[in-house]
């Protein structure tokens, strides 16, 4: 069972190609950082239970690489990999993030562990970008659309169902 009903906050600031997730964790940054970076721990929590982690590797050095593969119950595999850009235990970990289904798009993923009373505020920021400014623009439009449109979508869906 979980300890608390802690809300996960997902923020997509308009006009910026990023998704930010904030979540309080009832453990000190030292432990949270290890759980976020060491493969033996990562494989025990990252992703929903129905997805099996078949590969979880990390060379925990700046310039070192990581790779993770999730397998869905139907056997479909989803691979992700990247490179560590900054490792500053227990505060911050920055790395690139590439979904192998769309290998041309490189995102940057940052985890920041803020020490707060009773535990850690984990702030994860995924900045989408790509080599070309145009693609950057596309990504920006996309992320901006997500939550901006979310309540709108609910509204539209509700209207649609009434019809």
């Amino acid at each position: 069972m979980t300890m608390t009903d802690t809300p996960t906050e997902i923020i997509t600031p308009p006009g910026e190609p990023l998704i930010r997730t904030r979540r309080f964790l009832k453990a000190p940054p030292e432990l949270v950082y290890r759980a976020l970076t060491e493969p033996e721990y990562v494989r025990r929590w990252l992703g929903p239970r129905r997805l099996e982690i078949t590969v979880c590797e990390a060379d925990l050095r700046v310039g070192g690489s990581w790779r993770l593969v999730h397998r869905a119950p139907d056997g479909t595999e989803f691979g992700f990999h990247g490179e560590f850009l900054e490792l500053d235990p227990p505060n911050k970990r920055v790395g690139t993030f590439i979904y192998e289904g769309a290998p041309d798009a490189t995102a940057t993923e940052t985890f920041v562990c803020e020490r707060v009373e009773g535990g850690t505020m984990l702030v994860s920021t995924m900045v989408h970008s790509s080599v070309e400014a145009r693609d950057m623009h596309v990504a920006s439009g996309m992320e901006e659309g997500i939550l901006d449109s979310y309540s709108r979508l609910d509204e539209l869906m509700a209207q649609e169902q009434e019809r």
């Binding site: 979980t2 300890m3 608390t4 802690t6 996960t8 997902i10 998704i19 997730t21 979540r23 964790l25 009832k26 453990a27 432990l31 949270v32 290890r34 759980a35 721990y41 025990r44 929590w45 990252l46 992703g47 929903p48 239970r49 997805l51 999730h70 869905a72 479909t76 989803f78 992700f80 993030f97 979904y99 289904g101 769309a102 798009a105 995924m126 596309v138 439009g141 996309m142 992320e143 901006e144 659309g145 997500i146 939550l147 901006d148 449109s149 979310y150 709108r152 979508l153 609910d154 509204e155 539209l156 869906m157 209207q159 649609e160 019809r163």
Partner: protein, 133 residues
Amino acid sequence: MSPAATEELTDSELDRAFRALSDPTRRAILARLAEGDAGVLDVATPFPMSQPAVTKHLNVLEEAGLISRHRRARQRLCRLEPARLKQLSDWVGSYREFWEESFERLDELLEELQGAHEEEQSKTHSKRRGEAR
């Protein structure tokens, strides 16, 4: 990222749909069409822009799969395609689900690690006390 997200829509379809939704005029057009099918002229009425400009927006929405166009009698009507909206809504929902379930598992792991850590510390502590004696 949520792998489940890609099961329904390809990345370029997602890009197109979210790009289409990132414009307030196009969202207003969708809201208008949620009330019922409408011709281009009806759709264009509330907007301070030319009909060709509205047509351009409609093309973007159609390419994104958010609306379709069909003929009724002599009129060309636009229709909302709720299936695509549903897919987008599911996509956002699955992102949240992915992280919420992950964090719940992380809570459990941290609780366990912290328990082990404290046990370790108290052992070291009593050992040290033993040595001191």
